[in-house]
Symmetry: D2
Subunit: 422 residues, 4 copies
C-alpha cells in the first residue's frame, strides 16, 4: 500500500469535505467534454495523446484499482476487461493495452464509460462517507485526475489542430488587444537556499525532500516572452541560424517542415494561431505558448539570455502567491502579462527551465504500485514550472515539477528569460 | 465527361428502375452500419482502411461531384469543405486530405454525414426521375458504392481485430460443422481463348477490351483450399521453411511476429479465428480466408501446385453461373465448399491469381476525371477473382478484376490450386 | 544436383575450350577493379548494392560450392568462414551474412580475396581439364559471374555517385556530340507467336519453356528515348503532373526530393549527368539511362504511348542479331542511336517493359540448390530486355529476362516506346 | 579567434616542448592504426561512429582550419575539397558532408590521408618552432586529437563487433584470472563544496567556471561494478523486470533483442565478451564495461543503490591522484579492481553519473568557431567521469566531463554505486 504521499489528514478534513472535493473534481472532468461529440472523444492524434474518453475511464480505473479494490473486501471490478484497457503504465498492476492504439478502442462507448464513472462515484462516495481519506490515496487520485483534465485539453487541442477545418472547442472571446508590460529584470541574490516540498500539504514524491541548493546571483525576467517577441526572432532568421540551437534541436528542425511554433500558420501575409477557439489572428502581446524546449533555448540564445534553472525559478517564487490564470477561468489560452512583479509566474503558461527532470537528493518514490508514478520517467526530460491556463486550479504549488521531452510542444509551454550576473 | 463505361442504356432501363436500383444500393450501405456505434464508425485502424463514416460520405461525394455538380447548373455543394475531406484519390478533382489521417476527422459527425447522404439522395432521385442515366455515370457510382460496401466490412473487421475484446459485428450462427468436398482436379484444354468484358453490360475499364489469349492445357482444383488444409501446412513447418516462399514474402515474414494467417490465434491448444462474429474456434472444413499473396503462393508450392493465372481462371469460369455466397446472405464468412464443379468459383472468397494487375492489350481508361479509377494502380498488385461472402451481389462478373498488393490480407482472400499438364 | 540448365555439352565444347572460356570470364572480372583502390572495393552504398570485393569473392564461392565441393571428393573449403560471408541468398545452402552489412566485412581484405580467387581458379582449371562441363554447371557459374560483372559496375557507379567529388571510374572520352536518328515506328503484326528459350544453348530457367503467346498488332519505336526527349518531359512539368504517373510512382516522388533522373544534376543552368566518367554535361542525343519504371511509364504516358510488353519486345527482336554496344567496348555509357532498324535493341540500355516478372507457363526451376536462382524473385518486379553498355558480351540472348523493382534505377535502364494499333 | 581555453602559456612551455608534445600526440594516432588494413580504416558501422581514416584526416583538418589558415597569411589548403569532407559539425565553418555516410568516402585513400597528415605536420612544426602556442589553440587541437584517438578505438571495436568472425585488434594477453576487492563504501560528508576547473591548466569550456555546490552526505562504492556482479543481475531476471528500469530504458529493451550488455554473447553455456582481443570468455572479476545508462541505472536499482551525481563523484576524487589504467598501457580493456581506496576512479572505465550534461552556472563557451565545441550538445545526454583504459593519458582531469546519450554503449562505460545517507 501507498504510505508516503499524504501521511496525515488535511487539517480541516472531515469526511464530508473529502467527498465534496472528490465530487467537484469528478464533475469538472465531465464539464470538459460538454462541447465534444462521441467521435471527438474517440480521437487519438498521436501516440503521446489519448482520447478524451480514455482519460475519463482511466481516472476512474485509478480510483477503482488503488482504493476500491484494496479497501473494499467484496468489491469486484465493474468490468474485468477494463484493467487491460485503462491501465496506463503501471507495470506492477499488470499488462497494458498498446498506448498508441487507444484510439482504436471504440468499445466501451462514451455512454458506457459515463456509466462506469457513475458506478465508481457511487462506491467512492460511500467509501469517503465512511472512511474519509486516511492514507491520502484519494487526494492522490484527485490530483491524478486533475493532471488528466489538463491532458484532455492538450490532447483534444492537438487532435483538432490536425483537422483541416480547425474546429473550435469554445467560441472565441471578443478580441480586445491587450497591452503587455515592457520587459525588465528582477535581481535574485541566491546563496544557500532550500527548494522542494515540505510536509505541510499534498505533494508528489518527485518534489521531495526539501533540500539545500547553492545559487549564484541571477536575474529573472518580469514576465514570459510574448508572441510578438517570438515573431521578431522568426523574422530575424531564427529558424535558419544554427548558432542559436542545441544540436538535437537543429537536427529535429532539419527533419521537419515547420519554421514557427507548431500551432502558428502563415496565411494572407500574417500569423494565425490555432487555439481552443479555432484559428485566430495571432495577438502580439499575448504570452507565447506551445513551443518545445529547443525553441525556448534558441530564443533565449538569440535574446542574449538563458533559461532559468528550476531551483532559480522556485527560489524566485517564494514570495509570490500561487494565484493566476488557471483553468477555472475557462479561457484556456494565455493572455498578455501585466506589470505585476514576476507576472504570470503561476498560470498562463508552463515555463521551460534548463533543468533535467531528475531525482532530488534523498528522493524516495511512493511506496506500493503508485511508486511508478514519477520516478521511472527521470531521464531525457526537462522540468517546467508554474502551471498554465489549462491547469486546474488548486493543483499547483511552488514546488510542482512538470516534465516533458524537449521535442514536445503540445503542452501549454512558454518561457521566461534569465541571466547570470557577475 | 465520362463517355466510356456505359455507352448505352441498360436494356430494360426506365428512369424509375434506375432510381430504384440507386435507392436499394444506398439503403444497403446504411444497413451495414446498423450494428455500429458512432465511435465504431470513426475507427481507422491502418492507412489502407477508412472509417465507416468516411465510406458513407465519400460515396455520396462521388455522386455529388461526378453527377450533380456537372449536370445540374444551379447545384452548389452541400458543404464546400467536403471536397477536401471526401475526395479519395482523384488528383484531377483537387487536393485530398491525408489518407492515413481519416480517422482524425471527428467532424462532420456521423449524424451530419447521414444528413449529407439524405441531401444527395433527394437530389439524385429528382435527377434520375428526370434524366435516367444516359451516360452510365450513375451505374458507375452505384458500382463504386458497392465496392465501398465491401471495403466498409473489411475495414471494420480489421479495426475490431485489433481490439483486445474482439467485438462481434454480428452474432455467430449456430456452428454445425459442415462437410467439405474432397479435393479433385478439373481439366481445362486451353488453346486460343478470349477473356475480358464485352460491351453487353456494365464493366470497369480495366476489364476491357475483350481479347485473345493463348492458354496451354491446365488443371484447376474443384474448390478453394480449406482451413484444415492450411493448418496442415502450418503444422508441417510451412512458416519456417524458406523453400516454399517468394523472397519478398520470406523477408516480410522475418520482419513480423505472425506464423499463421493474420486473423488466426492459437489459444488453449487450438486455432481460433477472428471473424465478424468475434473470435470463434476455427472450422477445418470452411474455406480459408484472409491470407496474403505470399501465403497463397507458399501454400501452393508446398502442395506441389501453383496459383492459376487470371486468364486460366476466367476461361474456366465461362460455363459457370455468377451465383454463390455473396453479401446478400448476410453471413459475411466463407463456408465449406460443396461437391459442385468448381465450387465457390463465385462468392465465399476472392481467389488470388498469379497474374499481376496490368493493362489488357488495347486498354484505354475511362474518359474524364473518372479515368483515374483503375489505370494508375497498375503496378505492384496481383489480381484476385470471383468475389467473396462480403461482396455485394449484382456486382460480380466473370471478367471482374480485383487487385491488392501481395502483402495485404484484410480483403477476404483465399486460393484455388492449379497445375500445368504436360 | 542441378540437372536442368544445360543438359548437353556445348557443341564444339572440348575441355580446353571450356577452361579458356572460364579463364577469360575470370580475368574480365579482375580487369574491372583495375581502376579501384582497396577502399573503393570495400564500398556498399545501399542494401541493394555490394562491395566490389564481395562480388569477386561471391562468384568464386559459387564455383567452390556448386562444383568443387560436390565434385571433388577430397576438396575442403579454402576458408570455412566464407560460406557464411559469401553466400548471397541460397537458403538451401545455409545461413547468410546480413546483406545490408556487406560493407562492414573489412576482412578478408582485397588481397586475401584475390588469393581466394587464385586458389579457386587453380582447382577449377584442373577440374575443367579433366572433366569439362558435363552438366552445364560451369557455364551456369560463368553466366552468374557475368551478371556480377555488371552488378559490380552498377554498384561502384552508385557508390561514386554519392561522393561529393563525383570520382571518375574511367577518363571521359572526347565528347563529340553524336547525332541521333529521328523517332519513327516499326509495325509488328503479332498473331500467335512463340517466345522463350529453346534448348539450343545456355539459358536460365526463367526464360523457359518456349511457349505460344497471342499478340495483337503493335508499333515499336525505332530507337530508345534520348536524354533530350526526356529533358523536354521534365521541362513540360512532367514531375509535377500526377496524371502521367502510376499511383505508386507518384507517392514515391512525393517522398523524395528528386525531380529528374537520379544521376542528373542541375548546375549552372544546365543538366549534368553523373556517369562512370564522373560528372559530365548531359548529351541530348545520347540514349537516356538510369530511370526507374515509374519514370519510364510516366514518360510514355506523356508521349501518348506506352511501354511494350516483353512478348512484344522479344517477338520484334526475332530478326535482329544479338549485337551492339556491350561492355567489351569499355565505354560503359550509352551512346546516340543510329538510324538502323530497331537500333540499340541489344546493348546500350536495358529497356523497361510493362511485363511483370512472372513464371512462364510450364516453368520449372533449376533442380537442386541452384533452383533458388530465379523463381523466388517472381513478385513485385518488372522485366527489362536487351542488355546494356555494361552488360558483358556473350551474355545476352533475345529471350534474356532481366528484372528489377519499379523504384530501382541503379541498373542502366532506359525505355523504348510502343503503341497499340486498332 | 579563440581567447578562452588557454589564456596563458604552460609554465615550462618553450616552443620546442610545444612541438614535442604535438609530435607525440600525432604519432600516437598513427600507432593506433598499425594493426589495421586499408579496408578496416574505411569502416563506419553506425552513424555515431566514423572510419579510422576519417579520424586521422579530421584531426589534421582541425589544425589546418583553426591554426594554419588563420595564422599563416600565405597558407592555402592542402585540398579544397577536404573542408567539406572533414568538417565534423562546425556550422560556423561551413557545410559538412553527411555524417552517416562517412563510410562512403573511399577517396581520399588512406595513403592520401597519411600524406595530408605529413603535410600538416610539416607546417605545424614550423609554426610551433616560431610561435609556440600563445593562445592555447594548439593545446586545444592536441586535446581534440586525443579525444579522437579514443573514438577511433571505440569505433573500430564497434565495427569489428559486427563481423561474424569477431576480428581481434590486438592479441589477447595470457588470461590469469585476477582477484577483485570486495565491495565496501566510502563515507563522504558533503556540505558546500566546489567543483569545476580552475584556471591552472588546460580545460574545456564545459568544465568551467569552478563553482559552489551543496552536497548532502553520501556513500560511494570503493570500486566499480564487476562482470560477475552484473551477471548476477542478469541471472536474477534483471532484463525481464520493469521495476528496475527507467521507462525509456524499458521501452528500448522491448524494441531490441538483447538481454545482456551489447558485447556479451552466450555460447556453449557461458558468457563470452567481445573486446579488442576478439571474443574471449568473460572474466567475472574484471570491471564491467560497455553498458548504457539505462543498464547502469537498472543495475543500481536492483542493487538497492543509485548512481552518484557528477558533483558527488568530483568531490570524492579531490584527494585522489589522476593516475590509473589508461591507453598508454596498450591493454585497452578494463581489469579487476584492487583494494585501493576508490579504486579505478581514474582509468579502466568511464563511470555513468546521474547528472544530465548541462551548463555550469556562469558557463560561457569558447570564443570564435570553437565555441561550437561543447555547448550545443547540452540536452539529452548524461555525464560520465574518470576516463577509461582507452583514454589517452595526460588527457584526464578530475573536472573532465564526458557525455553520451543514455542509449549509447559503444564508449567504454561502467558504473560505481552510490547511496544517500540519512
Amino acid at each position: 500500500m501507498l504510505d508516503k504521499p499524504r501521511p496525515k489528514q488535511t487539517e480541516d478534513g472531515t469526511h464530508a469535505r473529502c467527498a465534496a472535493v472528490y465530487q467537484r473534481c469528478r464533475s469538472d472532468s465531465l464539464a470538459l467534454i460538454a462541447p465534444l461529440g462521441e467521435e471527438d472523444c474517440q480521437l487519438q492524434s498521436m501516440p503521446d495523446a489519448s482520447p478524451s474518453k480514455w482519460h475519463l475511464a482511466h481516472t476512474s480505473w485509478f480510483f477503482e484499482t488503488f482504493i476500491l479494490q484494496p479497501q473494499l473486501p467484496h468489491y469486484s471490478p465493474y468490468n474485468s476487461d477494463f484493467a487491460l484497457l485503462f491501465n496506463s503504465y503501471y507495470n506492477a498492476i499488470g499488462e497494458q493495452y498498446s498506448r498508441p492504439q487507444r484510439g482504436l478502442l471504440s468499445r466501451p462507448s462514451l455512454a458506457e464509460v459515463l456509466r462506469y464513472r457513475d458506478h465508481i462515484d457511487r462506491y467512492m462516495c460511500d467509501y469517503l462517507a465512511q472512511h474519509g481519506d486516511p492514507e491520502g490515496l484519494v487526494e492522490l487520485g484527485i490530483q491524478h485526475e486533475k493532471q488528466h483534465q489538463e491532458l484532455l485539453l492538450m490532447d483534444i487541442k492537438h487532435a483538432f489542430s490536425l483537422h483541416p477545418a480547425f474546429p473550435a472547442y469554445r467560441p472565441p472571446s471578443p478580441a480586445a488587444a491587450q497591452p503587455q508590460a515592457p520587459l525588465s529584470w528582477s535581481q535574485c541574490d541566491g546563496g544557500l537556499v532550500e527548494i522542494g516540498a515540505d510536509d505541510s500539504g499534498f505533494s508528489f514524491d518527485n518534489e521531495r525532500p526539501r533540500h539545500k541548493v547553492w545559487l549564484a546571483p541571477y536575474l529573472l525576467a518580469n514576465r514570459p516572452v510574448s508572441n510578438g517577441e517570438y515573431a521578431a526572432f522568426i523574422a530575424d532568421g531564427g529558424y535558419q541560424r544554427p548558432e542559436f540551437w542545441l544540436a538535437d534541436g537543429w537536427a529535429l528542425l532539419q527533419s521537419e517542415a515547420r519554421r514557427a511554433p507548431a500551432y502558428w500558420h502563415w496565411r494572407d501575409d500574417q500569423w494565425w494561431e490555432f487555439s481552443l477557439c479555432g484559428l485566430q489572428p495571432l495577438q502580439d502581446t499575448q504570452t507565447l505558448c506551445h513551443i518545445n524546449f529547443y525553441e525556448a533555448s534558441a530564443y533565449a540564445n538569440w535574446a542574449g539570455a538563458r533559461l532559468p534553472t528550476e531551483a532559480e525559478w522556485e527560489h524566485a517564487s517564494r514570495a509570490i502567491a500561487v494565484q493566476g490564470h488557471f483553468a477555472d477561468r475557462r479561457r484556456f489560452h494565455p493572455e498578455a502579462a501585466s506589470d505585476a512583479p514576476l507576472a504570470q509566474l503561476f498560470g498562463d503558461v508552463w515555463e521551460w527551465t534548463n533543468s533535467s527532470y531528475l531525482a532530488y537528493p534523498g528522493f524516495s518514490p511512493f511506496a506500493g504500485s503508485a511508486g511508478e508514478y514519477n520516478g521511472k520517467f527521470m531521464s531525457g526530460q526537462f522540468v517546467l514550472r508554474g502551471g498554465a491556463c489549462i491547469t486546474p486550479s488548486e493543483h499547483l504549488r511552488a514546488s510542482y515539477r512538470n516534465f516533458f521531452y524537449p521535442h514536445q510542444y503540445w503542452q501549454c509551454a512558454g518561457l521566461r528569460l534569465a541571466r547570470s550576473t557577475d
